[in-house]
Amino acid sequence: MKRTTAYLSLFALPAALALSVPASAEITLDTPEVGYNALEIRISRFNPEIDEEFDGASPYDDTFDGARPYNLEIEYDRQFYEGIGSLGIGVNIGYNRIRGNARTLDGEDSPDKTRLLVVPTRLSAVYRFDELPQNYNIPFTFVFKVGLDYAFWSIGDAEGQTAEVPTENGDPISGRGGTAGWHASAAVHLLLDWFSPNMAQSFASNVGVVDSYLFVEFMTSQVDDFGSSTSWNLSQQQLWVGLAFEF
């Protein structure tokens, strides 16, 4: 409940910013003449639900001391349908690396280091509802995404190599792999052009970026090989903050 309230309060930030601007501001929603692309750069906290698999044990929290490192992602969208709003597809890649202390057999921290590297990739269907800035001089665009995930991951051992765990049959399990899943998200994009139309015009003519947005996005992802009994759980509930550029 507390987390939800925090998320809602962050969604309110762009609204507060928008209300602080004089009502006389004029929106200039430029659009490219051929094709339509968007680039999103965003940041969030890495918080996988690995420990949800266990009843009482918490290997992730124990190893990484509950750390929630920032992670960065880049998304590229391409629109292919225009109607009420627009539809497109997006691809996304991120990078998460977290280090912690390996544990002794007694369960204590040791000086040895271990790491988890996760490179999430996503393929999304993207719907942008941008009628408000287009027709009503309101600088908000709502963006909804749903799609598939595939997270590449690797675990490093104390010597910096990919972890290998011996098994009874003699074949070690390698500490790297990929986990599939799905995601859905909703975002509020605040059109920055609304605050400084002249600067936006200059940005468009000089750089080719026709519209710029500040956005917050709530994403839920279920990354566990669709409930496989032999997969761990890299699912996350994430709140993203970022910048989006249409060109």
Binding site: Q79, S110, T121, A158, G178
Partner: protein, 329 residues
């Protein structure tokens, strides 16, 4: 007049004043930071001293002048060891303390440089390199100075301007800083961690010794055989050269600004032991992930990584114009 000419950007023609441009020691190999050629100062720390004396290196003191010496210029070279007093305003040792050594006397100065070859043992006056390690000799300055007649002296009679002196300073720094206190060591299977306390100011760095062979507190570090790792802070994680299930002895020394190392601190031992990396920790807790990319999950239970293929398919869709006036399809 020359200054005015220079200020006006005009070329100046003047007779250069005969003087030393560089005073240096050649072939003296010292640790980093102990050579200051711009000020003609050379500092031998304990290991510099021990190495130089043991090898009895021959070094060269050289003074280079800006122009050839005027005719009838004479020079002398004096060596002032620690505790002696040399008078560097005369080319003789009259009036100097007994320990002042006249290396060269009233020689003709020809050309643009004067060189003096001397062995380290001859310079320092001892031949036992252990004396450097055990503070068997005292620290101090050895000043090798050239004294030459001043061709620019225009005053008649004897006076303070008759001679010019250009010293080169070689200093022995043989004092060790006090040892730090090793507080704690711990080990994983391939990493060793140590932390310590040092009450000595002006410490440049610390040097941690670790070995499977035991060594004792207070040992001079030059006599310790073991691996070393340097640190700027008072803790360190060492991850090289360690084997699991071995006992390691660990000690630390202070290193001062000249590179001198304190005696070894108290020695602690620690045993490396297997640890659990995150994957081992996860599996030992009952985790089900088995690694791999496509084959880990049962058939029909997972989605293969076809993202790239889907992407290629979707991106092959034709480009279209967006909503807007004048948009070209």
């Amino acid at each position: 007049m020359l200054a005015v000419a220079a200020w006006l950007g005009m070329p100046t023609i003047a007779s250069a004043q005969f003087q030393v441009t560089t005073a240096e020691v050649l072939d003296l190999e010292l640790e980093d930071g102990n050579t200051d050629t711009s000020n003609s100062r050379y500092t031998l720390n304990i290991r510099d001293c021990a190495t130089a004396v043991e090898d009895n290196q021959e070094i060269t003191f050289r003074w280079t002048f800006n122009v050839s010496a005027p005719s009838s210029t004479k020079y002398a070279i004096k060596l002032q060891p620690p505790g002696a007093t040399c008078t560097f305003s005369t080319t003789t040792i009259d009036g100097d303390q007994e320990n002042c050594r006249l290396i060269a006397a009233s020689d003709d100065l020809n050309g643009t440089s004067v060189s003096l070859d001397i062995t380290i043992q001859n310079l320092l006056g001892f031949s036992d390199s252990n004396a450097c390690l055990t503070e068997g000799v005292t620290s101090g300055e050895y000043i090798m100075g050239i004294i030459y007649t001043n061709p620019n002296d225009t005053t008649a009679g004897d006076d303070a301007n008759d001679f010019v002196n250009e010293p080169i300073e070689v200093t022995l720094r043989l004092s060790r800083p006090d040892a730090p206190t090793l507080d704690e060591v711990s080990a994983g299977e391939s990493t060793l961690s140590a932390s310590w306390t040092s009450n000595v100011e002006s410490i440049d760095e610390y040097l941690v010794f670790y070995s499977t062979t035991e060594f004792a507190e207070g040992t001079i570090p030059e006599a310790v055989s073991g691996s070393t790792s340097s640190a700027l802070a008072t803790s360190i994680d060492i991850s090289s050269g360690l084997s699991v299930n071995r006992t390691y002895y660990v000690g630390v020394v202070n290193v001062d600004e000249y590179g001198n190392r304190s005696p070894l601190s108290n020695v602690l031992d620690v045993q490396t032991a297997p640890t659990l990396d995150f994957f081992e920790e996860y599996l030992s807790a009952g985790g089900v992930e088995q690694g791999g990319y496509c084959s880990a999950a049962p058939p029909g239970d997972s989605v293969p990584p076809v993202a790239a293929l889907v992407l290629l398919t979707l991106f092959s869709a034709h480009r279209r114009s967006r909503r807007h006036d004048g948009g070209a399809e």
